[in-house]
Amino acid sequence: MKIKIAHSTTYKYSSTVPRLVQCLKLYPSVCHNQEILEWETSSSSGKIVESHIDGLGHRVQNIFIKNFSGQHRITSKGILKTKDLSGIVKGLKEKVNPLCFLRDTDLTKPCEKIEKISNEAKKNNKNIIEFAHKLNLVVSNSINYVSGSTTISTSSKDALKQKKGVCQDFAHILISAARFNNLPARYINGFLLDEKNSGENTTHAWVEIFVNDLGWVAFDPSHKKCIDDKYIRISTGFDFEDASTIKGVKTNYNGDEFLDTKVDIENCQ
């Protein structure tokens, strides 16, 4: 499938920002599931500086801005050709051992409810991949999808407690549950083309679980399935915070920051 994406993040500042440094991970992952036909990132102020390719395969870029006021927009856009590999992520260029993704983070610490979820998922499985599918299903049913119900600092425990959340929370719960069962798991940021409901064409988050013999398998607990050719993989990390596509720090700035994002995803078959 050929998918065209245009994504922009706009920052507005209430007063002059003396110094701003940003770190971007906005390039789609290089893997067999997706082929980059065109891709470019741009910034309305401050040029984009290439930094390095990190151990997880992210192409890391920076923006440095001095004495800035007004509006600052970061755009990434391009066209990808995707393949449905039944959820298995193949050909990733990464150097990180999967066992690293057994570590807990503040957003994904296990709790009693995680134990309950995993007990439920453990029944009658022939192998690990079956268990992983079951886990994805149980997690899918553990909370309700309610947009705007959580914040960027909501942990898996918090989301389970309030029984609702968004894709980020589904992902955190599945990660907690997988790691609790000694399966390496990680957070994925990306885009999802949802043709049935074009309003949901948006940035999305899901989970990869490492299964011996298969490698990383991508599950989307928000949609009770594995990923297919409608998913574009951008960045990964231990959790939402670690996987952020844009991180920035302003120095000596006391004003406000307003954020606006815009996404356009279309099937250009």
Binding site: V21, C23, V49, G55, N62, K95, C100, T251
Partner: protein, 468 residues
């Protein structure tokens, strides 16, 4: 336990002169000299007294005037052993952040590295300048008997105490110049220039001129601030704080009155998590935004490398002999202290059955936290630890109670033995290693005590390596 001065109630040959000298000092002279030493510390080591506290109460680490002597033969072995460990540790770090051969060879369990929070995922695959991760390693050494020195731990991040090594010598030379005429003692004053030399050899990829070195301190409230400023002073480099540095177009600069000046090598005395709020702890106020990406793009070097701490983890420590053999193809020159890893079934059994005789440590713990000294603990405390070990065996190791050797101190009227350890500071640069002939001797001032930490009543001594 081993007495370094006496052998069968006779004074060892190389201690003869010092012993006679110490014995010949009248009591009032000892008192006078002690005061003089303290005053000198306050004066020349002004940094000790004024920097590390808020109020004016001067916090000097007690200094004992009886020097600790190491013969040149003994030193040769220690030196070789310490260098060997430092090289092996750097080879190990380079391996686990790249191909992980030692794990593939099944010499170290994969979990121990990959699940370890000190193993920094963001460093994986990065080519550290000259493959040196930890250019300054301070190994704590204890002496067991005539021939055996054992390493208790290796400090690979930012070992401190080297300023005491230099100041102790300075004080002794000022107070007792005559002793230095009688005995040939190796000098330690080259340390700052060695350190600068080693750091300069670790210039980042994109540096093509004489590299600019700075020391990065968390600030004047840090307990080791005196040492940071002391080293900066003697090395002739700037002592900077996070706010003195900034990154622009991937290049790291310091703010000076002449304008921005490019920085090439940062000897950082702050922890990993505070280096860069973008990459690490976002709430850190002392970090430099963009520094980590500047580092990874080859524009600046950070020494020690982030993630070096995984090598001084207590669980990894127990594998150092294997690490030495694996990377250097040599037998370890200095022994490790016997360590039981509770993650191994046999060892766990032994530990649980012998808790009253052992010291149990948490793998990632430091500074005496999460520690059980069996012989000094109540039954209840032992029971609590037993449960802890059973619930998470991999988090614990156990060691026998150590036998530290002793050296006399001037105790009121007489000389009286106290337990000591030794921390030499090994420097590793590009194709070179440097180690000044000496180190920091820490001494437990309370009779019978084995705790040499300055926070718990420990003191320091000048350490003399003889040039025979």
């Amino acid at each position: 336990m081993y007495n370094e001065v006496y052998k069968n109630s006779k004074v060892r040959k190389f201690y003869n002169q010092i012993y006679d000298w110490a014995k010949s000092l009248p009591e009032n002279v000892v008192v006078k000299k002690k005061n003089e030493a303290e005053n000198l510390f306050k004066k020349i080591g002004i940094t000790f007294s004024v920097y590390n506290n808020f109020d004016s109460s001067e916090r000097l680490i007690p200094f004992d005037m009886f020097p600790r002597i190491i013969s040149s033969t003994e030193w040769k072995k220690i030196k070789k052993g310490v260098i060997q460990r430092a090289l092996a540790i750097n080879a190990f770090l380079n391996d686990i952040y790249n191909s992980g051969e030692i794990i593939k060879a099944k010499l170290i369990p994969a979990n121990l590295i990959y699940k370890n929070p000190a193993y920094e995922v963001k460093m994986i695959g990065f080519k550290v300048p000259k493959k040196i991760y930890s250019p300054i390693i301070g190994s704590d050494i204890v002496r067991i008997n005539e021939n055996i020195f054992k390493v208790l731990e290796d400090n690979c991040r930012t070992p401190s105490g080297v300023s005491y090594m230099i100041e102790n010598r300075e004080i002794m030379m000022r107070m007792f110049p005559e002793l230095f005429e009688k005995l040939k003692i190796e000098t330690v004053e080259n340390y700052p220039s060695y350190l600068l030399d080693v750091l300069k050899s670790l210039a980042p990829k994109k540096c093509n001129k004489e590299p600019k070195v700075v020391i990065l301190t968390p600030g004047s409230l840090n307990s080791a601030y005196y040492e940071h400023s002391f080293l900066a002073d003697l090395m002739g480099v700037e002592l900077v704080q996070g706010t003195d540095l900034f990154v622009d177009e991937s290049i790291t600069y310091m703010k000076t009155t002449r304008g921005p000046e490019k920085v090439d090598i940062i000897y950082r005395r702050i922890d990993d998590q505070f280096i860069d709020p973008i990459t690490f702890d976002s709430s850190s106020l002392i970090g430099i935004p963009g520094l980590f990406d500047s580092y990874k793009s080859g524009n600046v070097n950070i020494c020690s490398a982030p993630g070096s701490g995984v090598a001084d983890d207590k669980a990894i420590y127990s594998y150092i002999p294997e690490i030495i053999k694996f990377y250097l193809g040599e037998e370890p020159i200095l022994e490790n202290v016997k360590t039981w890893r509770c993650c191994e079934e046999e060892a766990k059994k032994y530990v649980l059955n012998n808790l009253n005789k052992l010291v149990v440590k948490e793998v990632h713990g430091s500074g005496g936290y999460g520690l059980l000294i069996g012989s000094k603990s109540s039954k209840k405390e032992i029971e609590i630890f037993k449960k802890k070990i059973l619930s998470y065996p991999a988090n614990y190791i156990a060691q026998p109670v150590l036998e530290l050797s002793s050296v006399p101190i001037f105790d009121k009227k007489k000389l009286s033995p106290r337990h000591v350890d030794l921390r030499p500071f090994c420097l590793v640069g590009a194709n070179k290693t440097k180690l000044v002939d000496g180190g920091l001797t820490r001494v437990a001032l309370t009779q019978g005590s084995l705790v040499v930490n300055s926070s718990q009543g420990g003191g320091v001594k000048d350490t003399w390596v003889l040039n025979e």
